[in-house]
Subunit: 333 residues, 3 copies
């Protein structure tokens, strides 16, 4: 495995094999598999789960990692082309990225959406520019439009819970959040559930449709796997017979480059906070999923998070387990 940048780059069979490897490594540790191997982790945006789960995944396989993150006292990195660097930034990503890459056997990069241009972010322009500077195996640790590690972990969580692919029903529900959040997780989740052959319902208020580019990519995967994608604003209709409600907030397409406009729009939907009545029409064992971090009392109630429906800790733990498999495939033997 050269890179792990997008779940869509893998076939369903390849993903199944990765998840079998993940399960095996969880059960039968291989504490010498990556001895002497080093993973470099470059965070251009903050992180908790990704940061710690990658460090742990390497360590459990006997390897090691190092972190470069925004809170470090390195000078701000410049990323614009052709710039005269006479300001605060003392180093350009054109030097920093290949140097950091050269210190490891594989590299992970996180770079959130810049929100300067919806088109650029949908094309994942920044991530591709950074990736072009790396000549070791690369892992996308969340880019403007993709979060394949989260989705691989979520696939495993659904498997662990016995939620079927074909015939499985997942509601990807927009929820309120005080800030406009990127499309990476909803896009990746939609793609994952579609590749799994699930019937996906996107539940969102008016104005919060997902971008067409994301929808079209997922529709192709759903067609191939025999699943379906529908959209609605009607909560009762959406959750009918659902195995899972996957909650996530995201931005308005029309206000993507206009933060105050987005906030004015979203403020009307502060009642999109998931509580027990949302599950009325769902299967009785319907689960609640969220990639974390989650704002209690804003996106979802304490009752749901602390109750039996929630599998958010299991999802987070599966981040580490799934990433062990990716790293093993990239670096072992």
């Amino acid at each position: 495995m050269k890179n792990f940048n997008d779940l869509a780059d893998l076939s369903v069979e390849e993903i199944s094999a990765l998840l079998r490897l993940a399960t095996r490594l969880e059960r039968v540790p291989e504490p010498r598999a990556l001895q002497g191997k080093v993973l470099s982790l470059l965070f251009l945006s903050p992180s908790l789960r990704t940061l710690t789960s990658f460090q742990s995944a390497m360590a459990q396989l006997g390897g090691n990692s190092f972190v470069v993150s925004p809170e470090m006292s390195i000078h701000k990195l410049e990323s614009r082309s052709g710039i005269v660097m006479d300001g605060a930034a003392a180093e350009h990503v054109r030097e920093a990225v290949p140097v950091i890459a050269s210190y490891g056997h594989a590299m992970g990069i996180r770079a959130f959406a810049e929100r300067q241009s919806l088109e650029d972010d949908l094309a994942d322009r920044e991530f591709h520019e950074l990736a072009a500077l790396v000549d070791v195996p690369l892992i996308n640790m969340e880019s403007a439009i993709n979060h394949p590690c989260q989705s691989l972990a979520d696939w495993k969580t659904l498997d662990d819970l016995g939620v079927p692919g074909k015939g499985g029903r997942l509601v990807l529900s927009w929820v309120y959040h005080p800030r406009p959040l990127p499309f990476a997780v909803p896009a990746s989740t939609l793609q994952m559930a579609s590749m799994r052959g699930m019937d996906v319902v996107i539940l969102r208020p008016p104005g919060f449709e997902l971008p067409e580019r994301i929808m079209n990519k997922a529709r192709k995967a759903a067609d191939l796997a025999g699943g379906s994608i529908t959209e609605t604003e009607d909560r009762r209709e959406a959750v009918e017979g659902a195995h899972v409600i996957y909650a996530k907030s995201w931005s308005s397409v029309s206000q993507y480059e206009n933060r105050p406009g987005d906030q004015e729009l979203r403020r009307r939907f502060m009642n999109w906070c998931i509580d027990e009545p949302w599950f009325e029409n769902a299967r009785t064992d319907c689960r609640f999923m969220h990639c974390l971090p989650v704002r209690r009392g804003v996106e979802v109630t304490d009752q749901i998070l602390d109750g039996p429906r929630s599998v958010v800790i299991k999802e987070a733990r599966n981040r580490m387990v799934a990433q062990m498999a990716v790293l093993h495939r990239m670096l072992a033997g």
Copy 2:
């Protein structure tokens, strides 16, 4: 060993066995003992010695660790119950703690006293709330009222120096510090010396008595081990025949929730800075101990710190050695 949260949870025999293991690991390294094992380290309060000594202890045993600390660019963690999280904090400890715990085979947590309520801090309420979220072996890396790693290391330092348990005389001396400091180290030191069967003299100015709850717990240990605890404001009397002066500043009980009140009270005792004349009445080889960090010229003079009485570097080094034993007992084999 499931947890290491309080020295008082262990018998004197168990502590002796731990310290024999520490001494063995110091002499005969076991660089493969914890291969593939990971320790998660969560710091909700700053740290230098604890942070680095735990990382080194795991590494010397062939394991690894990762750190989550307040300076990281993660969003501030919320810890209040039932809160609507529409402010700055983007994640609640109810998610963050179990997730971080799930990435390691054991976990260390540091959370200083919150100083909102003396009663809560004496009950170590915050630490117990966090501990309840962890389902792997847990290490108290200093809580509101406890610092068992420091005390285990200090026990070893006293052993290394040949200071006897029964018949050994330790003066726990309050010293001036510009800020009101928590009870964790004085409480743990008092408990440790009492469990060792030492004759402990608490030397402190009026208004700086230790809380009764701490005193009572230590008295029970002293009774069991055949030692004694006395209190005095009289320096000459206190250090008579002492093997060790252990210096530490702490808060006034009566002003615990009132920082300006405490500072007004302590300002009268700026002359409580340990220098050579303090040792006049002690054994000629009387040692100076301190958990560090120490303010030179404020808590103790340069002459003492740089002279032959001081064993503060040895104490700090024993942090790592003692913690190796705790980790080996928790995670090896």
Copy 3:
């Protein structure tokens, strides 16, 4: 090898042996060589390459490391002698340094020039004071006047490129930078090239001569190795027949303790930005070297950095490889 504080402490034969070891470790990994060994890394000044390349070097040899750096939430360290610590600093380097050292089998320290006194900085006073507190093998990770890790890596890069020692021609060229930078890299580079027996030309505008103390030390090395050192302001003359232009900005000796004075002086030489015409008179395969970080469009043009002359990424990668050899020599077996 007890310490690695100055390339000048080693003979040319010792350096050659180190570089042979580096090349061997690059080709034939030894992922168990430093199992259970720990390197402590203390940064009193910021770092990217040094921080990450040392972590990676230890990990690739099966060892581990921990980092103490200025962005950590430890209280500011005091370094003055005889001070009453009643201010912000809660710990003195006289405690912090030996404690950190005691947690590792070797230690690296970075402490940039303080620029309070040219004489003190040329004598590397702060580094020597810190080094005196360390009783394990020590590595200078850049001090006021020395950067031996960079120079060892650069020596290897020159070897890798087939640039000869005797008969090799290296131009150490001052370039513009908005801030006055220390002498560590130019001094170390000059020393390295002189020890290699190269013909070194120092190209710099008037007012930016290197300090006599640095020049004299290098001249001795050049005499011993059969090389030469010349100085000029004439770019055409300087680069005649050059194998390498090594670019670096540095301070004015006369304005060293006077930042505004230095900036007024340097502002006249903003055109000292290396571009293709600088190479007109050099060998056609003349290389461009720089220790990084580099300001694009200020110190050197994009065209040079992105073109075939630049070996800056190779230099940075050789940091890790050279440091593996130093660590192996210090800690293995």
